[in-house]
């Protein structure tokens, strides 16, 4: 257990960096200023250590063996599930372990949707959704002849117009699906309020928590969500891995989508009974090593303190918002100006410099930002943008990283202003 904090209790990103080996390397021969943690996080040493320990001391097929090593494998896997469940404050028995957040959201749309959507039923999403929480709803509403409706965004800032919620509730949606934190706008959705509005008309709330769980304290019960999905690789876990929490009664009713070993009760040649609980949705050999790795990542984030991560990231974001207009005067910031309404990221566009050119020029200084649609193309279309640039931060983001960003921004501006 490291010492990650300053004397005043705030997070010290320089101390934090010691746990992330990539910062000791110089990819492409330059010090790395990684400002793309919203795409995927950097991995702490201890995540690989935990994986390695599990694989080299307790590796067997969990749930399937009648010998000590298999029991150790099962214990390690289930302890990891419990650790991850505790991280988001839900019972382990309600946390389905899947391959990704994308898989989790697809499971909700297809399994819940297929059983519950009827012709003319409304599913409500925001215009800012990540493709992973949009296309599955497009698909299932089309298949069930249901309607997909949208909580609109402001044409200029992109901010989600939550005040439209009241009148949209007249559509009596059966499902509201949205991101906890928008991966483009950075805005935190007022979930408690949305859940209340949803439940008042009998709608369920499906939350895509990918951009929230690593960047701020998240207690799923406090959000009011009925489904909540998140992704391991944004938290410092391996690439594979996603969690789906579902309300116990919903989980009990849902049919599995994927079938195979480990999710059955009994199988005959022509039919099969499925088991109960989370296991019903976890066909095949579980990703035990991925779970153990993610549990170690959760430990670390809790050592940092998620309130402290949030506070540190708010400081970084606040600086980006404050200094950006001077560095790039035509920058159009997407989402709320107020950093306290955000978590972890800020995206912007510029008519002078296309995001892709900006990313390229910044890359020459080792500054890694993301350019493009960030898997939210419809939002960009609403804003009439062919792309945006996104800066995202993490516990290991330092002021030096931002210094390099701004030096690069000024340089890019010089090139394009000619």
């Amino acid at each position: 257990m490291g010492n990650w904090h300053n004397a005043d209790g705030t997070l010290d990103p320089v101390k934090v960096r010691a746990e992330y080996p990539i910062f000791k390397t110089q990819p492409g021969g330059r010090p790395l200023h990684y400002l793309d943690s919203a795409a995927t996080g950097q991995r702490p040493q201890r995540v690989v250590d935990a994986l390695s320990k599990y694989l080299f001391t307790a590796n067997a097929n969990p749930h399937r063996g009648a010998y000590t090593l298999a029991q150790m494998a099962t214990d390690g896997y289930e302890a990891a599930r419990a650790r991850i469940a505790a991280y988001v404050n839900v019972p382990a028995s309600e946390l389905v372990m899947l391959g990704s957040a994308t898989e989790a959201l697809n499971l909700v749309a297809r399994s819940w949707g297929k059983a519950n959507l009827r012709r003319g039923d409304v599913v409500l999403v925001t215009e800012a959704e990540h493709h992973a929480n949009l296309i599955p709803w497009q698909q299932i509403t089309r298949e069930m002849d249901a309607d997909l409706e949208f909580i609109p965004v402001d044409d200029v800032t992109g901010e989600i117009l939550w005040d439209r919620l009241d009148s949209l509730m007249k559509l009596k949606p059966k499902m509201i699906a949205l991101g906890h934190v928008s991966n483009v706008l950075g805005s935190i959705a007022p979930l408690a309020q949305i859940a209340e509005a949803a439940h008042a008309v009998g709608a369920l709330l499906c939350v895509d928590g990918c951009q929230a769980v690593a960047n701020m304290p998240v207690s799923i019960p406090a959000t009011g969500a009925d489904f909540y999905a998140f992704s391991a690789h944004k938290m410092g876990g391996l690439f594979a891995g996603g969690g789906l929490w579902a309300r116990a009664d919903l989980l009990a009713e849902m049919a599995p989508i994927e079938t195979g070993g480990d999710m059955i009760h009994s199988v005959r040649l022509r039919d099969a009974d499925f088991t109960t609980g989370t296991q019903r949705f976890e066909a095949g050999t579980p990703d035990a090593s991925g779970a153990v790795a993610l549990a170690a990542a959760c430990d670390l984030l809790d050592e940092f303190g998620r309130d402290k991560i949030h506070a540190h990231e708010a400081l970084m974001i606040e600086r980006v918002i404050r200094e950006l207009p001077e560095a790039l005067p035509d920058a159009r910031i997407l989402g709320p100006r107020d950093a306290s309404q955000r978590a972890g990221l800020v995206a912007f566009s510029s008519d002078l410099i296309h995001a892709h050119d900006l990313a390229e020029i910044l890359d020459r200084r080792g500054v890694a930002i993301r350019a493009g649609f960030h898997c939210a193309q419809p939002l960009h279309e609403q804003l009439e943008l062919s792309s945006s640039a996104r800066v995202s931060v993490a516990p290991y983001t330092t002021h030096e990283d931002l210094d390099a960003l701004f030096v690069g921004l000024r340089e890019a501006r010089k090139v394009f202003e000619g």
Binding site: H356, R364, S386, G418
Partner: protein, 128 residues
């Protein structure tokens, strides 16, 4: 920083700021939208061909990064007077030469957007 100065040379930036061949054609033989899904570059390309399969006129409009727009501007300048088969024979080295710089893997799709869209437009014509 030599690499940067190469990719963002004045010639490229000039084509980006004031792309050529922007006046839409009245009755193009074919028009096609080309997209680069990863970074949102988009162009609308119009070609005019004569009966011998020679490009007589060309126009495009588009939005996107400097490389995609400058690349398309540069390539459209080259299309006029070329035959279909000549255009289909062109490849990435030709575009690199036009740009005067070797474009790396992260941007190659941007650089080739114009040429590839022209080739797809021509292919769609002959398959009609």
């Amino acid at each position: 920083m030599g690499g940067m100065d190469d990719l963002y040379r004045e010639q490229i930036l000039e084509h980006h700021r004031r792309p050529h061949n922007q006046a839409p054609l009245a009755a193009p033989s074919v028009s096609l939208e080309g997209r680069n899904p990863n970074c949102g570059d988009v162009i609308n390309l119009q070609l005019q061909l004569d009966d011998a399969g020679v490009i007589t006129d060309v126009a495009f409009s588009g939005r996107g990064c400097a490389i995609s727009q400058a690349g398309t501007s540069l390539i459209t300048d080259e299309l006029r007077g070329k035959r279909i088969d000549e255009i289909l024979a062109l490849g990435s080295p030709f575009v690199m030469e036009l740009l005067g710089v070797e474009v790396g893997p992260t941007r190659i799709h941007c650089a080739l957007l114009g040429l590839e869209t022209a080739q797809k437009a021509i292919a769609s014509l002959s398959s009609k």
